[in-house]
C-alpha cells in the first residue's frame, strides 16, 4: 500500500510543533532537545526502540509532564504544561498506551465521558460514531471490561473522537492485538485522519504504522535520529536495519 499523496497538506502550517524540548520523570531526563512537528492534516508515526521516550513525547505534549525547557505549540499557541482538561477543550485528544478505557463503565458511558467537555451536539456525535464503528453500537450496554482487546482499542479511539479533536495523539493503537485486527485499527486511524484530524501516532509495529503515515520520526534515547516521509523511511536501509528489524 503506497502512502496517500499528502505533499500538499504536508506543506501546511504545523498544527503541533515541539522545539528544543527536554522532559522526563522526577530527576530522570528522557527527552533531550527534541524538535519535531506535525503539519495540518498529517499522520506522523513516531517509532523507536523500547524506552526511547515515545510515550514520554505524547505525555509531554498532553500536559501530563511539564517540559523542562523548550516549547510545545498547538495551532500557534504555547501549550507546554497546560492542564489536559484544558487541552481537550482546545482540540487535542489523547489515547493512552494502557488503561485507555473505563473498564467498569458501559461502552455508551465511555463515549459520554469522552464528551464531558462538549457544550452541544454530544448525542449526534455519539450516534455518528456508532455508525462508523458498528461493533461499538452492538456493545453499547456492555462494560468495557467485557470487550476483546481489539474492541477496546476501537472504544479508546472513539472516546477520544467524541470531542472531534483537531490533533489526536495515539499511543500504540496496535499493541497486543492479533495481526488480523491490527489492520482494522489502522484503517480506523486512517479514516479519522481522512475526516480532517491530524495525528501523531506512536507505533511498535513500525512498518504497518509507517505504511499509513505521511511522515515518520525515529526516536532513540530521547532524541530524533531520523525524520522523513514515511515511504522514504521504509526504503532507508539504515533505518530498516536499525529500527525496522532488517
Amino acid at each position: 500500500m503506497s502512502p496517500p499523496d499528502t505533499s500538499q497538506r504536508a506543506r501546511g502550517d504545523a498544527v503541533l510543533s515541539i522545539e528544543g524540548v527536554d522532559s522526563g520523570y522526577g530527576d530522570v531526563q528522557v527527552l533531550d532537545d527534541l524538535t519535531m512537528h506535525v503539519a495540518d492534516g498529517e499522520i506522523v508515526c513516531l517509532i523507536g526502540p523500547n524506552g526511547a521516550g515515545k510515550s514520554t513525547v505524547l505525555k509531554t505534549v498532553f500536559g501530563l509532564l511539564e517540559p523542562w525547557s523548550g516549547s510545545v505549540r498547538f495551532a500557534g499557541g504555547e501549550i507546554g504544561g497546560e492542564d489536559p482538561a484544558d487541552l481537550v477543550r482546545k482540540g487535542v485528544g489523547y489515547v493512552p498506551q494502557i488503561d485507555n478505557v473505563f473498564g467498569s463503565l458501559s461502552v455508551n458511558e465511555n463515549l459520554r465521558m469522552g464528551g464531558v467537555a462538549r457544550k452541544e451536539g454530544l448525542d449526534e456525535t455519539i450516534t455518528e460514531l456508532y455508525e462508523r464503528f458498528p461493533l461499538l453500537d452492538e456493545k453499547r450496554g456492555a462494560t468495557a471490561n467485557q470487550l476483546s482487546g481489539g474492541q477496546r482499542q476501537v472504544l479508546a479511539l472513539a472516546r477520544a473522537l467524541v470531542m472531534e479533536p483537531e490533533l489526536l495523539l495515539i499511543d500504540e493503537p496496535s499493541a497486543g492485538l492479533a495481526p488480523s485486527i491490527v489492520d482494522d485499527v489502522f484503517d480506523d486511524v486512517q479514516t479519522v485522519n481522512d475526516l480532517g484530524t491530524s495525528i501523531l501516532m506512536v507505533e511498535q509495529n513500525a512498518r504497518e504504522g509507517l505504511s499509513i503515515s505521511d511522515r515518520g520520526v525515529v526516536l532513540d534515547q530521547g532524541t530524533v535520529r531520523f525524520e522523513d516521509r514515511a515511504d522514504r523511511l521504509l526504503d532507508n536501509p539504515e533505518v530498516s536495519r536499525l529500527y525496522l528489524g532488517g
Partner: protein, 306 residues
C-alpha cells in the same frame, strides 16, 4: 422482646448507620485514594451539627413540632443541618489539609488520624465530654409492628431505616443516571483517563467529599437518635465501618452498602449465637469479615469498581 425478629429489626437499624458511614469511607477511598480515619469523627461532627440545628429549629416557626412519622419536623431540619455541617467540614478539610499536602496514601492516612483527633477535640471544647441526646420524646413501640410481627419498633427506628433507604436509592440514581455520577464512577475507575478525557477531577473530588460527608453525618445523626450523642460516638464505630468497607470490597460503593448491611446485622445478631456474650458483638463482626475475606480476598464486590 428478645426474639430473632427483634434482633433482625435492631440489626436493620444498626446496619443503616454502618451503611451510611461505609459509603462515604469507600467513596473517599475510591476517589481520593486513602483510608480516612477521620470518617468516624466526621459522623460525630454531623451528630453534633444536628444537635445545634435541633435547638435552633425547635419551636422556631409554627409547625416545627408537627409530627411526621412520629418525629417533629424540626428533627428533619436538624438532620439536614447536620448533613450540611458534615459536608462543609469534609470539603474544608480537603481544601485546607489534604489537598495542599499533595501526598501519598500513607501520609494522608496518618494525617487523617490527626484530623480525627482535631474534630473530636473541637467537639469536646464546644460541647464538653458528656452525653447528650436529641430533644425528642422517646416514643414507645409502634402498635402495627408489635401486633403483626411481634417486634418493638419505635418511630425513631422506622425513620432511620426509611431515610437510609431513601438516601441509598438517591445515591444509586445519582451514580447511575446523572453526568456527575458517571464522572464519579469514571474518576474512581481510572483517574488518569478521567483527566485525559477532560473531566475536571478536582470538582469531582469535591462532590465526592460533599456526598461522603453528608452521608457520614446522616449516619452520625441516626446513631445519636438510636443511642446517644457523645464526642467518641463516631470513633467507637469506625472500626466496624472499616470492616464493612473491607468486607464489601474497598472502594466499591455498592460493596460498602452490602458490607454495611452484613456487618450491621451480624453485630446485632450476636445475642442469638450460643455461648457468645453480647460484649463480643464487634469481635463476631470482625471474625465474619475475616472468614469472608478468606474466601473472597478482595471483598464481596471487590474488583468491580464503583
Amino acid at each position: 422482646m428478645s426474639s430473632l425478629p427483634q434482633f433482625l429489626a435492631n440489626g436493620m437499624v444498626f446496619s443503616c448507620i454502618i451503611v451510611l458511614g461505609a459509603i462515604g469511607l469507600s467513596l473517599v477511598y475510591s476517589i481520593a485514594d486513602f483510608a480516612n480515619f477521620a470518617h468516624g469523627d466526621l459522623m460525630t461532627v454531623g451528630a453534633f451539627g444536628a444537635l445545634v440545628g435541633g435547638r435552633y429549629f425547635e419551636g422556631a416557626f409554627p409547625g416545627a413540632d408537627v409530627s411526621v412519622f412520629g418525629l417533629p419536623v424540626s428533627f428533619y431540619l436538624a438532620l439536614l443541618a447536620g448533613m450540611a455541617v458534615g459536608a462543609v467540614v469534609a470539603v474544608l478539610t480537603e481544601r485546607i489539609v489534604y489537598r495542599p499536602m499533595d501526598a501519598g496514601s500513607i501520609e494522608l492516612l496518618i494525617t487523617s488520624i490527626g484530623v480525627a483527633l482535631s474534630y473530636r477535640a473541637l467537639v469536646q471544647l464546644q460541647f464538653g465530654a458528656g452525653r447528650r441526646s436529641y430533644d425528642i420524646g422517646r416514643g414507645g413501640p409502634i402498635d402495627f409492628f408489635r401486633e403483626t410481627l411481634g417486634i418493638g419498633m419505635t418511630s425513631r427506628s422506622l425513620v432511620i431505616v426509611t431515610l437510609t433507604f431513601v438516601l441509598v436509592v438517591a445515591l444509586h440514581l445519582l451514580l447511575q443516571y446523572t453526568t456527575l455520577g458517571r464522572k464519579m464512577r469514571a474518576t474512581s475507575d481510572n483517574p488518569s483517563l478521567a483527566k485525559v478525557s477532560g473531566i475536571r477531577t478536582e470538582n469531582v473530588v469535591v462532590a465526592m467529599w460533599i456526598i461522603g460527608g453528608a452521608l457520614a453525618a446522616a449516619g452520625g445523626v441516626f446513631l445519636g437518635l438510636d443511642t446517644i450523642v457523645r464526642p467518641r460516638m463516631g470513633f467507637d464505630i469506625l472500626l466496624v465501618v472499616f470492616a464493612a468497607v473491607i468486607l464489601g470490597g474497598i472502594g466499591s460503593v455498592y460493596g460498602a452498602m452490602l458490607g454495611g448491611f452484613v456487618i450491621g446485622m451480624t453485630h446485632e445478631l450476636t445475642p442469638v449465637i450460643p455461648l457468645v456474650g453480647v460484649e463480643y458483638d464487634s469481635a463476631v463482626a470482625f471474625i465474619l469479615m475475616v472468614i469472608i475475606l478468606l474466601v473472597r480476598p478482595s471483598g464481596i464486590m471487590g474488583g468491580e469498581a464503583a
